[in-house]
């Protein structure tokens, strides 16, 4: 599915639960897929006793990937022209994360319509763990 500029309004929004009860295994899966084997994310003993954290936490890029999943399922495949985030708080095992997307602007550049989208991830306590923006190319 691809978004059409003619059917979109500033303020249109969409929420998607991108993970429910994040498991340590999914974090391990992301480590294996991405190649980032930082033990902070996969090695509880190291995270607690050496790094001084309460335990392992997810790669920021796992969180960004989950947000990307929500974006592409809304705007369509291969439609993003930019996507950027700030990592604001850690994502922990057990977290349930919701991506909140909303259209902040609609514009046309050389005849091609684009949507600017505010994209954040909140956890089960309502805390914003990732704050970002994306731009997507639309169909007319």
């Amino acid at each position: 599915m691809v978004l059409r500029a003619s059917e979109l309004t500033v303020g249109d929004s969409r929420d998607e639960v991108v993970v429910d009860n994040l498991t340590r295994t999914q974090i391990v899966q992301y480590a294996g897929a991405s190649g980032d084997f930082n033990p902070l994310h996969t090695d509880d003993l190291y995270a607690r006793e050496v790094a001084g954290y309460p335990g392992v936490f997810a790669h920021g890029m796992l969180g960004m990937g989950l947000l990307g999943k929500a974006l592409t399922s809304w705007v369509g495949d291969g439609r993003l022209t930019s996507f950027g985030v700030r990592f604001r708080a850690q994502i922990w095992p057990g977290d349930t994360l919701t991506a909140r997307l909303s259209v902040s602007a609609l514009r046309t550049d050389e005849g091609v319509p684009y949507a600017d989208i505010t994209a954040v991830v909140v956890n089960q306590d309502g805390a914003e763990v990732i704050a970002g923006n994306a731009t997507a190319r639309l169909d007319p």
Binding site: G35, F37, Y46, L71, G84
Partner: protein, 175 residues
């Protein structure tokens, strides 16, 4: 600064795209079903938006992957495999101390990346700056820009990462 390590390229393989999409819990068939993908405008399995992260797998000097013959800093018999050594405050500061965290990540997309592509990349340092944090002591920020091109020399993705080193472990939210 060019720092593409010993391995110059990333072969974009359908299997790797599948494993990456699975790790994100993304069931979109454009990532998992070559027959479906063949009938789309992309013609082949498509890489998801953050897929270029896998270039770390091909980076010879990457420090966050165990390397044959080098001690690994994660746990084995002990909580860390890092060789024990005294760390004075000065030494800790000199080495960057604390913990390295990813503060920001930005991508610009120029063209789709699909299975069968071979990517090359070039990395350069961007800006760096320091700031006093509320809880983590001095925060040292560093920007790294990585430009990815495909086998036809076309720019596909520009990635900009901002990492921060803190003097002490912190909850995020300071950056």
């Amino acid at each position: 600064m060019a720092d593409s390590g010993g391995a110059p390229s990333v072969p974009v393989e359908a299997g790797q795209v599948l494993f990456f999409a699975r790790a994100l819990g993304d069931p979109n068939p454009i990532y998992s079903d070559p027959d479906h993908a063949a009938n789309t405008e992309f013609g082949s399995v498509l890489a998801p938006p953050t897929f270029t992260e896998v270039h770390h797998q091909y980076m010879e000097e990457y420090t966050l992957r165990p390397r044959l013959g080098d001690p690994w800093f994660g746990s084995g018999r002990a909580a860390t495999g890092r060789p024990p050594r005294a760390r004075t405050d000065g030494e800790r500061r000199a080495s960057g101390g604390g913990t390295g965290l990813h503060a920001e990540q930005h991508f610009e997309y120029h063209a789709p990346i699909v299975a069968g592509d071979v990517l090359t990349w070039e990395t350069r340092r961007g800006e760096s700056w320091e700031r006093e944090g509320r809880r983590g002591g001095t925060l040292r920020f560093r920007e790294t820009i990585t430009e990815f091109r495909n086998q036809r020399g076309e720019q596909v993705v520009t990635a900009r990462a901002i990492t921060v080193r803190t003097e002490r472990p912190v909850e995020r939210g300071e950056s």
